[in-house]
């Protein structure tokens, strides 16, 4: 069996290193090796977006990235969003708008929303809905999530 891979990378602005098996996805490395359990496993095949993270500035599904691919890259996860004493404005907006019920999809939605607002600070409702089409929520019916992202855009821009 192939040996473990030694990976040196940056996670949420800090240098990180880990050993992983080549077959372990980034999602498995985050949750089972680094104990960063914010990213969730929903479908494990790229349909649901619950495992969304930002890799080198781009939104990706961490279930479709190998942990071994992270050498020299820069990763943002939900754990890096809030300051120690203050939530990120997108997190605040999700709370204020009651944009979550069970919460499983929420870290993915918030990372997807962050990636959107990073590149488009004033998206239209249409742009928000298409951008978030790869993130599934089975509780809210999406309207509250879209309103939360609109609110966060107002606050952050």
């Amino acid at each position: 069996m192939p040996g473990k891979v030694h990976v040196q990378t940056t996670i949420n602005g800090e240098a990180a290193e880990y050993l992983c098996e080549p077959r372990q996805s980034l999602l498995e490395v985050l949750r089972d090796v680094l104990y960063l359990t914010g990213a969730k496993e929903g479908c494990n095949n790229g349909n649901c977006g619950a495992c969304s993270v930002i890799l080198d500035g781009r939104l990706v599904n961490s279930c479709l990235v190998l942990g071994a691919e992270l050498e020299g890259k820069s990763l943002e996860t939900i754990e890096g969003l809030a300051d120690p004493d203050q939530l990120h404005p997108i997190q605040d907006a999700f709370l204020e708008n009651a944009a979550l019920q069970c919460g499983i999809c929420t870290p993915g939605f918030i990372m997807a929303a962050k990636a959107l607002l990073d590149q488009n600070p004033n998206p239209t409702e249409h742009e928000i809905r298409y951008w978030l089409a790869g993130n599934l929520c089975r509780c809210t019916g999406y309207d509250k999530i879209v309103r939360a992202v609109q609110d966060a855009a107002q606050t952050t821009s």
Binding site: M1, P2, V5, E21, P22, R23, Q24, S25, N44, N45, G46, N47, G49, S52, L55, R58, L59, V60, N61, C63, L64, V65, L66, A68, E69, E71, A112, A115, L116, Y130, W131, L132, A133, G134, N135
Partner: protein, 292 residues
């Protein structure tokens, strides 16, 4: 997932020899949005994944109005549609790159990977066909060969790639004056789905934009591989733009479709859709030339 070895290749030559060593037990990894799922679900067993994302040759994205587009096989969709000059030159390719999966998929998935996955329903293949794309393939021992994209897929999931061969890039000719392209698919929802039928068209119009100089039509999900509807496109050459000429081309496209019935649609519905989508793709491409 079953265990496999992960090797990031540093050169094309290294990639092809890493692939050749393991034969059908090795696969190149670009965006991984198909490959990782297939391996996880045990639909594909591998001893080695060769990461080809960090090679200069597979990352090239260079367009010139004189020589056309060099599109590295690992360039993710989002980089293609973020480029204004490429978007203006090849709108049919952009139509497809923008509807493959959602945002997170487009952040990783490449057009080259979509082609190598060789799905009959692949969205980018009909536009590549109508744009006359050429596949640049590197083989072991430093060899290179070129294959027209309509000959690349040989069966569902199968291509002309032989052991140790790697799709390095796609070359797309510069768009002629008064030309444009268009791609659309039918899906029963707005986003995030696989084509029931897909149709692409490219047209070159005359100086007054009243007649068609030449046209190409490409189809997806109506045969074991994406198709070039050669006679349908040729039937339009030299014709004044008219509903009759476009209807005749759409009927010729329907004639080469041999769809199956499955969970996404029946053969009868798919044949009907070939007609509808071919007309819309042709009219869409013509409209784009007129508006340019």
């Amino acid at each position: 997932m079953r265990a496999f070895e992960y090797v990031p290749a540093k050169t094309v030559a290294e990639a092809t020899s890493l692939l050749a060593e393991k034969g059908d037990q090795a696969k190149p990894l670009a965006g991984g949005t198909d490959l990782i799922v297939m391996v996880r679900e045990n639909r594909r067993q591998l001893e080695r994944m060769v990461d080809i994302k960090d090679l200069p040759e597979t990352n090239v994205l260079s367009y010139s109005p004189d020589t056309g587009l060099d599109l590295g096989a690992a360039v993710p969709c989002h980089k293609i549609y973020a480029d204004d000059a490429i978007s203006a030159a090849y709108p049919g390719l952009i139509d497809a790159a923008k509807i493959i999966g959602g945002t997170a998929i487009q952040g990783r998935a490449s057009v080259g990977g979509n082609l190598c996955n060789a799905s009959p329903a692949a969205d980018t293949i009909p536009p590549l066909i109508v744009l006359g794309a050429i596949c640049v393939i590197a083989g072991p021992n430093g060899s290179t060969r070129e294959v027209p994209v309509e000959q690349f897929c040989t069966a569902p999931g199968q291509s002309v790639l032989e052991t140790g061969e790697l799709l390095v890039s796609l070359k797309i000719p510069a768009p002629p004056t008064n030309s444009s392209s268009f791609y659309l698919r039918f899906i029963p929802r707005n986003e995030m789905d696989i084509a029931v039928v897909g149709a692409g068209a490219s047209v070159v119009l005359n100086d007054t934009k009243t007649a068609i100089v030449s046209a190409r039509i490409g189809l997806a999900a109506v045969a074991p591989t994406p198709l070039l509807a050669e006679e349908a496109g040729a039937s339009l050459a030299g014709k004044e733009i008219s509903d009759e000429a476009i209807d005749a081309a759409a009927e010729a496209a329907q004639a080469i479709a041999s769809p199956i019935s499955d969970m996404r649609g029946t053969a009868e519905q798919r044949t009907h859709l070939v007609g509808v989508l071919t007309r819309r793709a042709l009219n869409g491409a013509i409209q784009r030339v007129k508006e340019a």
